[in-house]
Amino acid sequence: MDLTSLSIDAARSAVQERKTTALALAEAHYARIQKEDGQIGAFLTLSKDRALEQADRIDRMAAEGKQLPPLGGVPVGIKDVMSTRGVRTTAGSKILENYVPPYDCTAVARMEAAGAVVLGKMNCDEFAMGSSNENSAYHPVRNPRDLSRVPGGSSGGSAASVAADMAVVTLGSDTGGSIRQPASFCGVVGLMPTYGRVSRYGLIAFASSLDHIGPLAKTVKDAAIVLRTIAGRDAMDSTSAEVPVPDYVAELAKPVRGMKVGVAREYFGEGLDDEVRQAVELAIDQLRGLSCEIVPVSLPHTPYAIPTYYLIATAEASANLARYDGVRYTVRARGVKTLAEMYRRTRDEGFGAEVKRRIMLGTYALSAGYYDAYYLKAQKVRTLLTRDFDEAFQKVEAIVTPTSPTPAFRLGEKSNDPLAMYLADIYTVTADLAGIPGISIPCGKTKEKLPIGLQILGKHFDESTILRLAHAYEQAA
C-alpha cells in the first residue's frame, strides 16, 4: 500500500482496520517531505512531536477497537497563518519569526479533535498577501507540476504539499483567491466556504471582512469531509454564523440532473488564456452532458472587482497589521531610543515589500481627504458586485468560471509588477467581496502539462450544491 497517495477515507479505514498505523502514515509523509520538500519548499515548520503524539493516541484507539473519528490518523498540513499552540507560527513574515502562539486556531482544534495528525505549517505569502508565494519572507514555493513555475498564492505551500503527496489535505485561507488560485495552479481541489461558515478564531488577520479558512484536497469528497469538520458557529468568533451545518458528504450523492448552471461572459473576456478558455468551455459541455441546464447570466460589475478589492483589503490590512509594533510579538529593532523609533524601525525591518505597499495603499485610502473617494467608493461598489450575484442566483443554482485567467506562471515573471500580479486574482476576488462560497477543481491541462482550474460559485451557505456539482464533474471527467 502506498501510504502517501490515500484519500481521507482510505487512510482512516487502513488505520481502523489495522492494515497500517497512524504512526506509519505520519512517518511515510515525513519521509516524503524529507525527499521532496528540499526542492518544493512547502513546509516552514514541522510539528513532529505533536504529530507523533496524536498518531499514538489514534493508534491506541484503533488497537482498542474504538471507532475512529472522521479524520482519524489522517496527516494534514496547516497554513502558517493559523495559530498552533506551542508550534511556531510566522504568517510567512520575519516580524513573527519566533512567535509561538499560546492557543490553537478553532479550525485546527476541530481538525485535531476529528483525529487529524498535524505534520507542520505550510509556507505562504507574507500575511497571505500575494498570488505566487514569492512574497514569503523565508523562501518561495515551487510548483510540483513544474518546478520552474509558481504554485500560486497565497496558500502556495498548502496547495503544493497536497499536489506532491506530502499531506492528504491541508487548510488554507482565502481573502482574494488564496485557496482557489493555488489549487488551480497545482491541480488540486480548493474550497472557500461562505463568509461566516468557518470560525476565524486564531487566524492571523489580513482583511477581516474578507478572510476565510477552507480546505485544499485531492478530491471533492475529501474537501467535503474537512468542511463538515471545521464548519459551524464558534462562540470565540462573533462573525461565525448561526447557520446549521449539513452533512456535506451525504449531499454529494444527490443528482445534478436538471441543475441550472450559470455562465457569465464577463469571466471570458480579454486576458483569458486560450487553452484555459478551451478547457473551461469543454467542462461546461461536460456539465451539459450531465443534464445540467446551462444558462447565460450577467455579472456586469465584474471589471470593477479588482480595484474594489485592493482598496478594501488594503484598508483593513493597514489596521490589522498595526499591532506588529515591537511590543508583543517577539521581534523588536535593536538600539532604538524612543517609542516612535521602535515602532518605525521594527516595522521597516520586519515587513517585506508587498506588505509595506499594501499598508501604504490602505493607509492612503483611509486618510483624511481620500476616504470618500477611495474607501467609501469601494464599499459602495462592493454592494453593486454583491447585487450582481443576488440577481444571477435568482436564475441559477451555481455559476461556473475559469479559476484563473492563466495557468501557473514562472517564478519572477510578475514579481516586479504589482498590478500584473493583482490581476491574477481577477476571477476569484468577486466571491470574497460578495461572501459567497467557491470551489476550484482540476479541469484538464495545457499542452505544457500545466493544470487548469474550473471555478464553481454558489449561493451563501449553499456549499452543498457546489460540492455536489464539483463531485459529479470530477466523477465524469
Partner: protein, 112 residues
C-alpha cells in the same frame, strides 16, 4: 501623478513605516500605477448605493429584529473568565521582546 513625494512621506508616517529612499521611490511609482487603475471605479455612479462593510449582516441573523438585535446569538455575558480563561501573565508575556513579570517594557514614551 496623484501621489506626490510629500504624500508618500505623510502616509508612511501615519502607518509607522520608515522607508529608505529606494523604498520611497518604488512606493511613489507603484502607488500611482495602482491608483491609476483604481480610478476606473469613477465610471460608476454610486450616488444612491449604500456602502457595504461586511456580508454577515445579511445571513444567519434573526430577520425579525432590527440593528444589533439581529446578532443576538453572538451576545455573551460580560463576566470575568467567560468563554475562555484569561491567559496567565507569564504566558501572555512569553512572546514579548522585553517584559518584566507583569508588564510589557518599551522605551521611554515621554521625552525630556
Amino acid at each position: 501623478m496623484k501621489v506626490t513625494d510629500k504624500d508618500v512621506a505623510y502616509v508612511a508616517e501615519l502607518a509607522n513605516l520608515e522607508l529608505t529612499s529606494e523604498e520611497h521611490n518604488g512606493m511613489l511609482r507603484d502607488l500611482n500605477s495602482i491608483l491609476d487603475y483604481i480610478d476606473r471605479l469613477n465610471e460608476l455612479d454610486t450616488t444612491d448605493v449604500p456602502a457595504m462593510a461586511q456580508v454577515s449582516d445579511r445571513y444567519g441573523v434573526d430577520e425579525s429584529k432590527q440593528g444589533s438585535e439581529r446578532f443576538a446569538y453572538a451576545n455573551r455575558k460580560d463576566v470575568v473568565e467567560g468563554l475562555r480563561k484569561s491567559l496567565p501573565h507569564e504566558v501572555a508575556l512569553a512572546n514579548a521582546p522585553d517584559a518584566n513579570e507583569d508588564f510589557f517594557r518599551v522605551p521611554k514614551v515621554i521625552e525630556r
